[in-house]
Symmetry: C2
Subunit: 299 residues, 2 copies
Amino acid sequence: MLMDARRLLIFREVARAGSISAAARALGWTQPAVSQHLAALERAVGVPLLLRGPGGVELTEPGARLLDRADQVALQLHLAEEELADLTSLRRGRARLAAYPSAAATLVPRAVAGLRARHPDVDVELTEVEPPEALGLLESGDVDLALVFGYDGDPAAGRGLVWRPLAAEPVALVLPVDHPLAGRRRIALAQLAGEPWIVGCARCRAHAVALCAAAGFAPSVRHVSDDYVVVQNLVAVGLGVTLLPHSALDAYRHPGVVAREQASFGTRTYGIVHRPGAERVPATAALVRELAGQGAPPG
Amino acid sequence: MLMDARRLLIFREVARAGSISAAARALGWTQPAVSQHLAALERAVGVPLLLRGPGGVELTEPGARLLDRADQVALQLHLAEEELADLTSLRRGRARLAAYPSAAATLVPRAVAGLRARHPDVDVELTEVEPPEALGLLESGDVDLALVFGYDGDPAAGRGLVWRPLAAEPVALVLPVDHPLAGRRRIALAQLAGEPWIVGCARCRAHAVALCAAAGFAPSVRHVSDDYVVVQNLVAVGLGVTLLPHSALDAYRHPGVVAREQASFGTRTYGIVHRPGAERVPATAALVRELAGQGAPPG
DNA sequence: GGGCATCCATAAGCATTGATTATGGCTCGC
DNA sequence: GCGAGCCATAATCAATGCTTATGGATGCCC
């Protein structure tokens, strides 16, 4: 086992002070306390480290060597404290974020810009992935935060992760501008039972299918794409209809489509997932605050 | 005050083992012991250092930074132990010796050669000075050992130093070869009352004067020199008589002088003086053993 | 899907560590 | 020679720190 570092630092203090009594005063202790620590240290190393004389102590050769190491240890401890203080006060740091595409296009850039403005040396590393992969990255420790969405419930349930919902966004029905129903005030999904449907990721598809089932039909899924630009282009040229969340239409809006938001189309909830405890890491916490739209620390 | 280095090393062990339980096993402790230390460390630094999950722990960014420092601290402690082991086992080291001239010419070279043969990387630094200055160097911390002599009693008495006599050497009366008394079997000092006398250092002079006084006369001191070569040359050409210790005649013997050792001329004791505790410093102890003529460690 | 193994945290008990006060030896300076 | 510095040692007591005991949570396996 390694030498007792505490006693090593006490020894260093004695060497610096020039006497055991002076070191004790500097440490706010009594003289015997320091004396006993030194005796224990010398017993442990098996060699006299300092020669006691009236008027103080003087280092032996082994003592002088050990003092060099003690200085190094003290330096490292000091550096450790400084580094931690830097990280705590956000003078530096890093937060790794996985986000889904439409968020990466809208919410994330704003949050990152806000964080950079407040803390220029806190770096954000963004990975754009769909929610399931984001959770995988989180579990493997490759990212600190995952910005994900779910149509209902907790998208990270049962995975040992923490889910913090941020907001619910409406889901819109997307039709070509020249669609017969494009001008109607209210649209019933059942009216689109005969249309070809375009769906995105597995969860979006499940949501669409569930909505249609509730409306009494099974949609005919003709095209599949995660890309909200691709999907809107397909809709615009009349290849089908689709459902898209508000943020996807916020990030990009094809002029050839119309979007109708109705409560009956449901909502999509997005939020942050992280490993328990990660929210207390300063850089991570700061990014969470930015994403939640409250850049300044609460309180 | 600095961070608790002990807990830092426990944290390091946890990071290395991958889990608190594994670290506890490695340390021969129970899991709660390590858990509590980590909790205390995190409380002290104010930042989570690792995220607990089933299957073990994972470092946060602050934890990763702190681990680097912990490694440095452990390295320094390890190096400290190695260096001390080197010094203890005489794989390296240094002993600073102050010795008076005739010893420096005879006893010391043999001792240094012996030490070097046994421990090639233990360095001896020799300073040739007369005993009083040697004690001064000892007190000021400039040497570890002083090889000194005295005509009676402890030459370092009352100075807070340790006196270890090594041997008593006879004192010889030194006459020119052509002196009328040169052939006599026994010589009484009183017979030399009319001769010019040559004396050396203050203590040697005091010894000579005391001897002459005991013989009933006050010597006429004509020449003063510490240098036993100079003194013998003066005697050889008939400029006076003198008293010299055996070692001075052993180091150099002028053909033009005769030396008579008699109990009545007294003895000169030489030995080692050191600060209390210094005899336990390995390099110093080894040199003491060599000087005492017992190169191998006792026992 | 329920039981089991493993992870971690917390609480309470107790032994050791580590501080204290008290005392004594030693050297130096007045 | 006496007082004021050093330092070491012994004895006492409190706090630290390790223990056992327990509970919550996750993941694996049949």
